[in-house]
Symmetry: C2
Subunit: 365 residues, 2 copies
Amino acid sequence: MSISFEILLESKENAARVGRLRTPHGEIETPVFMPVGTRATVKSVTPEELKDLGVSIILANTYHLYLRPGHEVIAGFDGLHGFMHWDRPILTDSGGFQVFSLAMLRKITDEGVMFQSHIDGSKHLFTPEKAIEIQEALGADIIMCFDECVPYPAAREYVMSSVELTADWARRCRQAQRSDRAGLFGIVQGGMYTDLRAESAERLIEIGFPGYAIGGLSVGEPQDLMNEIASCTLPLLPKELPRYVMGVGKPENLIDLVAMGADMFDCVLPTRNARNGQLFTRRGTVNIKNACYISDHDPVEAGCSCYTCRNYSRSYLRHLYMSKEILSYTLNTIHNIHFFMQLMKDIRTAIADNRLGSLRREIAG
Amino acid sequence: MSISFEILLESKENAARVGRLRTPHGEIETPVFMPVGTRATVKSVTPEELKDLGVSIILANTYHLYLRPGHEVIAGFDGLHGFMHWDRPILTDSGGFQVFSLAMLRKITDEGVMFQSHIDGSKHLFTPEKAIEIQEALGADIIMCFDECVPYPAAREYVMSSVELTADWARRCRQAQRSDRAGLFGIVQGGMYTDLRAESAERLIEIGFPGYAIGGLSVGEPQDLMNEIASCTLPLLPKELPRYVMGVGKPENLIDLVAMGADMFDCVLPTRNARNGQLFTRRGTVNIKNACYISDHDPVEAGCSCYTCRNYSRSYLRHLYMSKEILSYTLNTIHNIHFFMQLMKDIRTAIADNRLGSLRREIAG
């Protein structure tokens, strides 16, 4: 197998664990947060800046890269690593989520999903086989099964048939893999029905994958419900393999899910909020456009060791934001990614020290 | 005097010279190109990236910073250097050009210019005294006299009175200086009339400044006319002092003007064109959005040692540009600034080797 996972430490407080995930492009310490680089770039920062921030793996989006510039173009560079100048691990999603959330006029059949590009309206067919072909061309270290991501709320009957479809597609994805270079993860669906989540997990485990993800969370449901579904589903996934909760989330969500045994996360939150002027701190978010910061000489967060906080005041960051300067996005993104990287480091230490509960209480939310 | 200028080498071919300009924040080798950082940031790059590119001095705009965030805010940081985290020299313009090109409903009197902000329509009065007060608050190393920049074309009579006004304002600027920390440059006006340029130069030299600029060029006139005016005016300026041609320009312009004895330049060309996907090379510009680059594995310019060319293909740069990714602006700007910095280095070497003429023939345009 191309990837391997080792559990280094287990919490005595809860189901949290510290692990090491080996991939063709290097090792990842878990629990890990993966910044999102949708179009083969984590918006507004360079790969060197990401490395300085301690980012060990990024996510890129199959749907977007298939449409532009096209996976064949990227394959010509031996994949995303060569194309985007990033030599650490990459995970690609399958395009499933975007086909359902971004594309127009989609039609779902057993074969796959026919959809129109959100860029130019052109028609495309994504099948499990196609999703694997594209992801293998992109050359990621971890690739994902093509799944149907059901919206929230969704009727039980619909979710039931979707679990069936997702399992069938997962089997086809497994068979479509041409190389075992990348680790292929199965994605558990089942909406907000715990029994359907259990069925979905069982069906995927029957097929057998080197890692499992939980999809269809953080799609608009209340936070309690998300936690309930995650807490019922995570224990059903093989303990010795990495568990990835997709599209999550807020700092408090990360700690809660780690305590339930989750190892991997991705979310646009740190990067998107940065571009909206929302900066994370341990005491809540700073909205940098607020007039109170106009002459504020303090950094975003006192004691923060990121490049932005070491060199720039809230006053300057507010000025850049109000002036719509590009540097605003870069400096804000650096701070927010640093916050998430530091949080994950603190989480890993807290697991070792059996004080994840106390870290959770320090975090607002 | 706060700044001092030393001529290190003189060309045997023409009036070009290599010099060293000492300022409170360090030395500058001339001829020098100053990237434009209008709002206390050179768009899309960090100060560290500018230093890596060999940028020795940047320009910031008085008009913009006065309106937002306000010079008092910046004065609270002991000036622009502290505010924007840049410890090398800064030159601020006087706001004259922007008051005439950007502001609304301006009214010129002997006292100064009443104008409305292009941001919120608020009314403001810029006088020579105010322009110096603002620039001293901004804490630049080189500051500029408040001048009237006449449009092209302009009637002789109007330009004549403008030369008079600019000389009067220059005298008031000199008197308004509270500190000799910054070097104050006079700005020669006179439109496209060589005799009025001569009169303007004479009036300013009577007052006496540690450096002189030529304003009102590159305002829409034909290139031959710009060269004619510059070639008549530059020899009239004191040989032992720095000569700055404002708002210029294209690579070929820089070489031509250096050959006439100019030492300093600023222009938005490298940074603005970068954001429009126009990349400079010795063989002309590359328009990165062209479809021919979709799978092009070559760097923007073969042999270029900039960060962008060392690590990224035209294919990736085209992809970023087409996707409107922020990293596109950063990588393109790095390449274009590198091109201008390398060009100035080559110009300085060519002066020493008496082969500026041959360098001129290598540059397209």
